[in-house]
C-alpha cells in the first residue's frame, strides 16, 4: 500500500517545487507543498536604497509578472509621498498589466497546461501535430509583448520611473493588432471551455480587488465573499507564516485557505466584465461561479477577451498627458495592491525623510494559494486512493491540479523524480 508520495521538481510550472504526501490507512495524513527555490531576500535588498532604485530591483522578483511588481512598488511609494498619479499614468500602468496578463495567461494555457489535456509531454510535441495552436499562442504572446514594449520600453522588466511622463507613440498598429487578435481569443475560449476537466468541486473563499466601475487591475478594494477590506488594513486579514519546510511564505485569510487569480476575479467581478465577454460566457454555456480549481483555465481564457476590449478602449481614449506632479521627498508609509496575472499582489514600504527605504514587505499571489493547493491535493488524492488509481495516474493527476493554479514558485528548473515508498 502507498505510504508516501514525493514529487521532487514538478515540471511545467514556473519555479522549483516539491511535494510530499504521507498516507495512513488509505487517507492522506499530511500534504506538504514546498517551493524549493533558493531564497533571494528581495525585501531586505531594498532597505537603505533610494526610492528611485526600488523598481529596478523588485521587478527582478519575477520575469513573468515584472510589470505587476513595477506598478505595485511605484504606487506604494507614491502613496508614501502622497502623490496622486495622473490619469494618463494610470492608463499606461493598466495597459502594461493587460499586456503582461495576456502573455502570462497564454504561456500558462498553451505551453504549461494544454499538453496535459492532449497527452503529450510538451508544447514542442503539441506543435508537431497541432501547429495552429502553437501559432495562436505565439501570436497572442507577441500581442502582449508589443503592448508592454510600447508602454514600458521592453518586454520584461519594463521601465516606469516614479512620476515619469509617458512617451507618445503612434498606436494605430497596436489597435489593429488588438482587433485582429479577437478571433484567436475566441478560439482560445472555445478550446479551453470544452476541455474535459477532472471533477473537484469545493466551496471556498476567493480574494481579489474590486472596483465599482471597472474590472480591477491596478487598484481597488480587497474583496472576498465576506466583504471589502482597505489596502492599508491588509495585514489584519492576511497573515504570513513561515512553514519550516518551504522557502516561500504561506498566507492565510481568517485562518482559512482561499484562492486568488483569474478564477477569483471572474467569480467576484463578473458584473464588471464587458458585455461581449458576458455574452461569450452565455454562448459557451460556462457555469459561474467556478468551484473547480481546474476551471482557472477557463477563467484565464475569458479574461483575455475582456482585457483585449479594455485595451482597445483605453488606447482609443488615451489623452495627452497632463504634467505629472514633481516629487517632494519626505518620510511616509504606503501600500499598494494590484492584480498580477496570478492574483492579488501586495507591496508595502516605509521611507525616511531622505527618500530611503526603511521597511518593505511583499506578498505574492502564489504564496496566498499554497494553502488551498495543499488542501485540494489532499482531497484529490483521497478521491484517487478510494478509486484505487494507479501510481502513475495519481501523479499525473496531482501535477495537472498543481498546474491548474498556474503557480509561480519564483521560477526555474523542475524535473520530475517520483519516489513511491
Amino acid at each position: 500500500m502507498v505510504k508516501e508520495i514525493n514529487l521532487n521538481h514538478i515540471c511545467k510550472v514556473e519555479g522549483h517545487a516539491d511535494l510530499t504526501l504521507k498516507i495512513e490507512k488509505n487517507k492522506v495524513k499530511t500534504c506538504k507543498l514546498k517551493a524549493s527555490e533558493g531564497a533571494r531576500f528581495f525585501e531586505a535588498l531594498v532597505i537603505n536604497k533610494k526610492l528611485q532604485d526600488v523598481q529596478e530591483i523588485v521587478s527582478r522578483i519575477c520575469g513573468i509578472c515584472s510589470s505587476a511588481h513595477t506598478v505595485a512598488s511605484i504606487q506604494a511609494l507614491e502613496e508614501a509621498l502622497q502623490i496622486t498619479p495622473t490619469k494618463t499614468q494610470s492608463t499606461i500602468r493598466k495597459l502594461l498589466m493587460i499586456g503582461e496578463r495576456i502573455r502570462s495567461h497564454i504561456t500558462h494555457l498553451y505551453f504549461l497546461s494544454l499538453p496535459d489535456y492532449y497527452n503529450v509531454s510538451s508544447a514542442l510535441q503539441l506543435g508537431e501535430k497541432h501547429k495552429d495552436k502553437i501559432d495562436t499562442a505565439i501570436s497572442l504572446i507577441s500581442l502582449g509583448n508589443k503592448i508592454i514594449e510600447l508602454f514600458g520600453g521592453r518586454e520584461i522588466h519594463p521601465f516606469l520611473e516614479i512620476n515619469e511622463e509617458m512617451p507618445k507613440q503612434d498606436l494605430t498598429l497596436l489597435l489593429n493588432q488588438l482587433k485582429e487578435s479577437k478571433p484567436l481569443i475566441n478560439k482560445t475560449i472555445k478550446l479551453f471551455s470544452s476541455l474535459n476537466y477532472p471533477k473537484l468541486e469545493r466551496k471556498i473563499d476567493y480574494l481579489c480587488l474590486k472596483n465599482k466601475n471597472d474590472y480591477a487591475t491596478i487598484s481597488g478594494k480587497i474583496t472576498t465573499a465576506s466583504g471589502l477590506i482597505n489596502d492599508n488594513d491588509y495585514k489584519k486579514h492576511i497573515k504570513e507564516s513561515i512553514k519550516e519546510y518551504a522557502t516561500s511564505k504561506f498566507a492565510l485569510q481568517k485562518n482559512k485557505p482561499y484562492e486568488v487569480g483569474a478564477i477569483a476575479r471572474i467569480n467576484n467581478n463578473y458584473n464588471q466584465l464587458d458585455n461581449e465577454t458576458k455574452r461569450t460566457i452565455k454562448q459557451f454555456s460556462i457555469k459561474l461561479p467556478f468551484n473547480n480549481p481546474y476551471h482557472n483555465n477557463i477563467a484565464q481564457a475569458l479574461e483575455l477577451l475582456h482585457l483585449a476590449n479594455q485595451a482597445i478602449k483605453l488606447i482609443t481614449n488615451l489623452e495627452k498627458s497632463e504634467k505629472p506632479v514633481k516629487i517632494k521627498i519626505k518620510s511616509g508609509y504606503g501600500v499598494s495592491a494590484v492584480e498580477a496575472p496570478r492574483g492579488t499582489l501586495f507591496h508595502e514600504y516605509k521611507i525616511n525623510n531622505q527618500g530611503k527605504i526603511t521597511y518593505c514587505n511583499i506578498i505574492t499571489p502564489t504564496v496566498q494559494n499554497l494553502n488551498i493547493m495543499e488542501k485540494d491535493i489532499t482531497a484529490l488524492v483521497n478521491q484517487l486512493l478510494e478509486q484505487k488509481t494507479s501510481k502513475e495516474q495519481t501523479i499525473d493527476q496531482i501535477e495537472k491540479l498543481i498546474r491548474a493554479y498556474d503557480p509561480c514558485f519564483s521560477c526555474s528548473t523542475h524535473f520530475l523524480k517520483v519516489n513511491w515508498l
Binding site: 505551453f111 514542442l124 520600453g153 521601465f159
Partner: protein, 259 residues
C-alpha cells in the same frame, strides 16, 4: 555528438531566478528558431524531464543561492560539452548578488525569522562554481543576441561577444547624457551590446552586462567626484547587478594605477 536528426542537443535549465531569461526563449521568433534549428532535449519549464543523456549546449539561468543550486549546475556541467550562462544572474550574479555587500545575517533575519532551513549560500554567478564557455549577458537578455547565438551554434559560425562600452552605443543613438543630467549612469564602464536600452528609456545604466575589459574605474571615479558624488554612491549603483565583477575590476585598476 550530434543527434540522429543532425541537430545539436540542447538543455535549458534554471536555478534560483525569475524565469525571465528562459521565457525569452519561448517568446515569438526565438521559440520557432529554437525548435527548428536545435534538438531541445530538456527544458523543464515547458517539458517533462525524462532525458538523462548528454548535451552539446546547456543554457543555465539564475544565481547560485543555496546548496541545491551548486549540485544542480555541477551535474549539468558533467553532462554538457558547452555551458552557456544565460542572463545577468548566471553571468554576473544579478540583483540577488547584492546580498554579498550587505549584512547577510541581518538580511536573512529581516525576511525570514527562521532561516537555517533555507541552506542559503553567498549568491554567486555560476562561473564561481563551474567552468562556463559562453555568456549571453543582460537583464533581461537581448533577444536578438540569443537568436544570433542560436544561429551561430547551429551553423558552426563563431559567436563574437560585444566588447565596447554602453556609452558608445548610447552616443550613436543621440541620447542626452544622463551623467550630465545629474544621474550616476554606469554607461562609460559597462560592457555594451544592449543598444543602450536603459539610457534610451531615460533610466541610468545599472551595469547589468558587467564591466568592460578596459573600463577605467579610477578615471570614472574622479569624474564623479568632480560632480560631487561619493565612492559609496557609485558602489551602490555598481552593486545592483554586477557588484562582484566591478569589485574585481576596481582591484585591477588600482593595481594598474599603482604600477
Amino acid at each position: 555528438m550530434k543527434s540522429k536528426n543532425n541537430k545539436l542537443k540542447i538543455g535549458l535549465y534554471g536555478i534560483s531566478g525569475c524565469a525571465g531569461c528562459l521565457l525569452s526563449f519561448i517568446y515569438e521568433d526565438c521559440f520557432k528558431q529554437l525548435a527548428e534549428l536545435l534538438d531541445i532535449k530538456a527544458f523543464p519549464l515547458i517539458k517533462e524531464n525524462s532525458y538523462t543523456g548528454e548535451f552539446d549546449y546547456c543554457f543555465i539561468e539564475g544565481t547560485v543561492c543555496f546548496d541545491k543550486d551548486i549540485k544542480t549546475i555541477k551535474k549539468l556541467r558533467k553532462r554538457s560539452k558547452y555551458i552557456v550562462a544565460l542572463g545577468a544572474c548566471a553571468h554576473v550574479g544579478g540583483v540577488p548578488s547584492m546580498k554579498n555587500f550587505l549584512d547577510k545575517e541581518k538580511i536573512m533575519r529581516f525576511v525570514y525569522p527562521v532561516y537555517n532551513h533555507l541552506k542559503s549560500t553567498d549568491p554567486k554567478p555560476i562561473n564561481k562554481h563551474i567552468k562556463v564557455d559562453y555568456y549571453l549577458p543582460q537583464c533581461p537578455p537581448n533577444k536578438s543576441e540569443i537568436l544570433d547565438f542560436i544561429k551561430c551554434i547551429a551553423t558552426g559560425r563563431p559567436f563574437k561577444p560585444y566588447t565596447d562600452p554602453v556609452c558608445l552605443e548610447c552616443r550613436k543613438k543621440g541620447n542626452p547624457c544622463l551623467l550630465n543630467l545629474g544621474k550616476i549612469c554606469l554607461g562609460p564602464i559597462t560592457n555594451g551590446g544592449c543598444n543602450a536600452i536603459c539610457p534610451s528609456n531615460n533610466t541610468i545604466c545599472y551595469g547589468c552586462r558587467g564591466p568592460c575589459n578596459d573600463a577605467n574605474l579610477p578615471a570614472f571615479l574622479s569624474l564623479l567626484k568632480e560632480k560631487g558624488y561619493t565612492l559609496k554612491q557609485l558602489h551602490e549603483k555598481m552593486q545592483t547587478f554586477a557588484g562582484l565583477q566591478f569589485k574585481d575590476q576596481e582591484k585591477k585598476s588600482t593595481w594598474l594605477e599603482d604600477g
